[in-house]
Symmetry: C2
Subunit: 117 residues, 2 copies
């Protein structure tokens, strides 16, 4: 573990997709987040997902290294993805898998350094 990787960081991504079908498929979104977590060496502990009447999905994976969440906006073909991590985690790999598997055409990412161990 490098000193840099031991810092608590929040990565906040807003992302637009080419095909919005994935944004209303909770099971597919769950599989994508789990795959992304594994790519980043993140350990998934539990998850919770909720589907709204319009098909929008809110989902969170609880991680040994904090959390990975998604909130989809099917009507806007976009999603908010938040990754809060600490330790020996490859956050870029996590977000890369999310981008690829969601078919993201454009995204913005803000990174906040947080207090933590």
């Amino acid at each position: 573990m490098t000193v840099a990787s031991a810092t608590m960081r929040l990565h906040a991504m807003d992302a637009w997709v080419g095909d919005g079908d994935v944004l209303v498929d909770a099971e597919r979104l769950r599989a994508i987040l789990v795959e992304a977590a594994r790519a980043g060496r993140v350990t998934v502990l539990e998850d919770a997902f909720h589907v709204f009447p319009n098909g929008a999905v809110t989902g969170v994976l609880l991680l040994a290294q904090s959390h990975l969440s998604i909130h989809t906006w099917p009507e806007l073909a976009m999603a908010n993805v938040d990754l809060l991590t600490y330790g020996d985690v490859d956050a870029d790999a996590v977000l890369d898998v999310v981008r690829t598997r969601l078919g993201i055409t454009r995204s913005t990412v803000s990174c906040l350094v947080r207090a933590g161990g």
Copy 2:
């Protein structure tokens, strides 16, 4: 709903407490987050909590307006609290309840405007 309140916002709070006992009490933390959500006119849909071997707690409330999460660091007497919200939500009220009920002595809050409906 005002135009300002209809914006998607992430509030990221790092907070230090005077008495660390609350940071290892998952049920109390869950009750505090639910009380905070209600104070901010936020609707709680589901929750997921995990307790680590050292007593640290990771917990997330799924909200009709996105999510409210906490990650505690008992060994540092601190916690990371993230509130992602959209719509007619009083985020200050949410964070004020968290501050009061956790007995927070010092905190920093970053606010990120996010893309969304």
